[in-house]
């Protein structure tokens, strides 16, 4: 009983901290609390995020804000079609003084990486980045260079119909834990963006409300969030539904299922709970599915995802 209370004290403390972080970012990115929470959940779950949006909707601002409040090293790569893998991973250069090759780390060696316009890069560069992302290390000249303990990638992508882009293959998309789209803010919020106070605040950086050590502790705590059989049944049911659906090209992979589980744990953790509920799974389902499920004519399967959630029996 006492232990329980202690645990709940602890959880309520981090709940407060995280909700402060969400509020803080929310002052920058107006009217997007859900998106902010999802990105932070992915961060806590140790996954990566794919942001798909038109230019100018605050993707970069979101990334920078989150990096700032979590007190993380932040790097940004603007990907272009003439970029080489070495531009991302780093390069070995012959040092004339030591008569040896030495490795110069690329921009990927950071805690928070914003890979802007990922689909502008050539497939070769894309896959180099994504492989490093998945393995948390870079292999170069027979040596492996591990990433930071905290390594979070937020990639942005312009909608695929824009010209001069290389669409990410399905297998690469699966490496992102979640995908989301910010969309336009509502009118009131947008009006606020044009206000003097907001523009003034934009010039200051956000306070660091946390740090990498704290984040690692939280990431560890997320993996310990309890899941009842009943909830796992529901999760399994959803995954199965996605495979059975007649109009969906390809269902969720077990990796995606596991991602959904982590995401649910993370959302529960953010809510101050040490156990997941079906609602966590429901909330995590859409961002996990968004980039993975395509209809048989190649569109996003939003409506079908909605249907699957609606047909569940959670009595």
């Amino acid at each position: 009983m006492k232990k329980n209370q202690q645990a709940s004290m602890k959880t309520s403390r981090h709940k407060q901290q995280i909700s402060d972080i969400v509020d803080c970012v929310g002052e920058r990115i107006l009217d997007k609390e859900t998106a902010i929470r999802q990105v932070i959940a992915a961060l806590l779950a140790g996954g990566h995020v794919l942001l798909e949006d038109r230019p100018g909707l605050g993707k970069t601002t979101l990334a920078a804000s989150i990096a700032q409040v979590f007190g993380l090293d932040y790097n940004r790569i603007q990907l272009t079609s003439d970029m080489m893998p070495s531009d991302v991973l780093g390069v070995s250069i012959y040092n004339t003084e030591t008569q040896q090759f030495s490795y110069h780390k690329g921009p990927i060696f950071t805690q928070f990486l914003l890979a802007d316009e990922l689909n502008r890069a050539t497939p070769k560069t894309q896959s180099a980045l994504l492989e490093a992302m998945a393995e948390s290390q870079v292999s170069m000249d027979g040596k492996t260079y591990p990433m930071e303990d905290v390594f979070f990638v937020m990639a942005t992508q312009n909608p695929i119909d824009d010209s001069g882009t290389y669409a990410l293959p399905h297998s690469q998309l699966d490496r992102f834990l979640i995908s989301l789209s910010l969309g336009y803010p509502n009118e009131a919020s947008e009006r606020q963006i044009y206000s003097a106070a907001y523009l003034k605040s934009m010039k200051q950086s956000l306070p660091a409300l946390s740090n990498a050590e704290q984040l690692l502790i939280w990431q560890q705590a997320v993996t310990e969030v309890h899941a009842a059989d009943e909830v796992l049944d529901y999760l399994q049911w959803l995954v199965t539904q996605s495979r059975k659906h007649p109009h969906i090209q390809q269902g969720l992979s077990p990796r995606a299922g596991l991602g959904l589980f982590r995401m649910a744990q993370s959302l529960a953790f953010m809510d101050g709970r040490d156990f997941i509920t079906p609602d966590d799974v429901t909330k995590g389902f859409y961002p996990v599915c968004r980039h993975r499920l395509l209809t048989d004519d190649g569109r996003l399967a939003d409506e079908y995802i909605e249907d699957m959630l609606d047909s569940a029996n959670l009595v």
Partner: protein
């Protein structure tokens, strides 16, 4: 998919072979080659042609035969246009009907077994059609489940069998339509007619003796039609029925009673041991002491007979009768007439003549044979007595009676059966036991009736084995291609089962049904009441089965789920919220909070407790339960307040 199923449909049992072969072959051809559907016009023409064919072969009129033929033909033809699921189902269903029509002809045990099999095949086909894939036919699981379905129907079958309102006689038993056709003793006898029966091992009737006392084989003379009129070749009956039967029995002879179960023979003849004392109900005893049924025997008939085991029967005789029984044509069989007059010169007493005649058969090289040479002269008796000397019982009986008449002794032929096979607890009399013997009237002036009938069986002197060991033992070579001793034995064993089947099932008639209802205390026995009762039972069974299924398939809720449902019931009045209940607590709660802001706090409290118990503590403590209960009560109060407020 349906097409894949169709090949199964053909394996169904149908009896209409000739056309079926063609149709099924065509259907297979279509199946394999994926030919397009035949034109409707062609189908119509085929159907009309089939109808014409039926009318041509069976004539007009609504008879059972024509109805059945049309049903079967059209069922088979239906295959020609079976392309959809619906058609396939229809064909399978029709097969049940086709199978059932067979019962209109016979309800024999073997047939029932066969029809059970075909009912299973049909059910299986129905199941396979529903599985919608062709491989299902031979899967053992599916076969098992079809058997299961059939077994499921068994209690209902028994119930209907016992309780369905029965008619006094089968609806198809109208006088012009018989059972399997006429079999057995025919009321006429000519050379070869008994031999014909001898070839037939099917049962004629079965006898159960009371007290289990079975007389010796040579006493088992099952009396049938008595034949008095002879045209030189064929013996036939003459109706002396109007005469009153005045008889006296042999005082020393033993009296026995027994029960007979007769197979339908399409005639009115009934049989009993010589000599029958009294006619059973539903039958009359002629002056010639043979039994005749009031109605044509088209279904299994049971009757109880009492007989005196004797070879003589005292009876008076009118001069008219005597004249008829002495009649023979003078200008035929002259040689025999001469022979008789020679005997008369030596000893003219009745027994003297009888013994002379029997001695003649015994000593002159006569042979008992079921394949005698044909007799084709005008003087049949002469030819038999002097030339062929080989014959079956009808030859001997016929010749003997004519010889007696020539000697001035009134005589007649009696047809019926002799002997039988002791088949366990009953005696089986087969058609092959058919027999003919003679009766001679001996005057005895001292007796008040003036004389008696003496049974004389000329066959007995030629072939005593026939008499003492039964007809089965005189078979030396195969009567037909399919005649083997083991087969006969098997058929006799089979008949034991058939006997029980008849006893318990086939013979379950109106009176037995009423007896059953009396026994279980149901007094109203009219058809309507029965039907109502039956429907009630059926309905109740259905209710029981469905309740059971409902109980089995009902959703089962854990304690915590019950709490959720209890929570949802608080909002039963709000359909919009109540309809969302399948989405779970967490989807519903925010909705309620926005709708009823005043409930936010109690719901939040309840929610915390509920979620923790449900998704964290698999085994909640009593304290947890109490807390949940507490929050629920608080919430309930709050909801009531909201209701009050809204009603104001």
């Amino acid at each position: 998919m349906v097409v894949a199923v169709l090949p199964q449909v053909y394996r169904l049992p149908l009896w209409f072979v000739p056309m079926m072969t063609v149709v099924v072959a065509y259907r297979f051809y279509v199946q394999v080659n994926h030919i397009k559907k035949a034109y409707n016009l062609v189908l119509i023409m085929v159907a009309v042609a089939a109808l014409l064919l039926i009318v041509y072969s069976q004539g007009f009129g609504l008879s059972r035969e024509i109805s059945v033929t049309i049903l079967i033909t059209m069922t088979v033809l239906k295959l020609l246009e079976t392309y959809k699921m619906r058609d396939a189902l229809l064909v399978v269903m029709l097969c049940y009907f086709v199978a059932m029509t067979r019962f209109l002809y016979s309800q024999d045990l073997v047939l029932v077994a066969y029809l059970l099999l075909s009912a299973w095949v049909t059910t299986h086909a129905l199941a396979v059609v529903n599985y919608q894939h062709g491989d299902a036919w031979f899967e053992s699981g599916h076969i098992k489940s079809s058997v299961g379905w059939l077994l499921l129907a068994l209690p209902f079958a028994v119930l209907f069998f016992l309780a369905f309102p029965r008619l006094g006689s089968p609806i198809w038993g109208s006088p012009d339509i018989f059972g399997e056709g006429k079999t057995g003793i025919s009321g006429e006898m000519s050379p070869g007619s008994i031999i014909e029966l001898f070839m037939d091992d099917s049962p004629a009737f079965r006898v159960t003796f009371e007290d289990g006392e079975q007389p010796d084989n040579n006493q088992l003379y099952w009396r049938g039609p008595v034949l008095t009129e002879f045209d030189g070749r064929t013996w036939s009956q003459f109706d002396f029925n109007r005469q009153r039967r005045v008889v006296a029995f042999d005082q020393q002879a033993k009296q026995i009673s027994y029960q007979i179960e007769m197979e339908p023979n399409g005639r009115r003849f009934m049989f009993g041991l010589d000599y029958i004392v009294q006619s059973p109900t539903g039958a009359s005893l002629s002056s010639a002491s043979s039994l005749t049924s009031m109605t044509v025997i088209n279904q299994l008939k049971h009757y109880q007979v009492k007989s005196v085991l004797s070879d003589r029967l005292y009876q008076n005789m009118s001069s008219y009768q005597r004249n008829r029984l002495l009649d023979f044509s003078d200008n035929q069989n002259v040689q025999t007439q001469l022979l008789i007059s020679q005997w008369q010169a030596i000893d003219s007493s009745p027994y003297g003549i009888i013994n002379k005649a029997l001695a003649w058969f015994q000593t002159e090289g006569f042979l008992y044979s079921y394949s005698p040479p044909p007799l084709d002269s005008d003087d049949v008796i002469d030819e038999f007595i002097y030339d062929s000397k080989r014959g079956f019982c009808e030859h001997f009986a016929s010749s003997f009676v004519v010889m007696m008449r020539m000697a001035g002794l009134p005589a007649r032929v009696v047809t019926g059966y002799q002997g039988g096979v002791d088949n366990g607890d009953y005696l089986l009399v087969k058609q092959s036991d058919a027999h003919a013997w003679a009766e001679v009237y001996i005057d005895e002036p001292d007796h008040e009736l003036g004389g008696y009938w003496q049974r004389v069986d000329p066959t007995s002197v030629v072939s005593p084995e026939r008499l003492f060991q039964g007809s089965g033992n005189i078979i030396e070579q195969r009567r037909t291609i399919m005649d083997f001793p083991w087969l006969r034995q098997a058929r006799e064993n089979m008949d034991k089962y058939r006997f029980r089947w008849n006893k318990w099932v086939r013979d379950f008639n109106v009176s037995k049904q009423q007896a059953l209802f009396d026994a279980i205390g149901i007094k109203h026995r009219e058809g309507k009441d029965l039907a109502i009762m039956l429907l009630t039972i059926l309905g109740l069974t259905g209710v029981v089965i469905f309740s059971w299924l409902w109980w089995r398939l009902r959703p089962r809720y854990t304690d915590i789920q019950q709490w959720y449902l209890r929570f949802m019931r608080l909002f039963k009045k709000d359909p919009e919220i109540f309809q969302m209940r399948h989405l779970g607590f967490e989807a519903v709660a925010p909705k309620i909070m926005t709708r009823y802001p005043s409930l936010s706090e109690p719901i939040e409290q309840f929610k915390q407790s509920y979620l923790r118990i449900r998704y964290r503590n698999e085994h909640p403590t009593a304290a947890d339960q109490r807390r949940l209960q507490h929050y629920f009560q608080a919430l309930k109060k709050a909801v009531n307040n909201v209701d009050k407020a809204s009603s104001k």
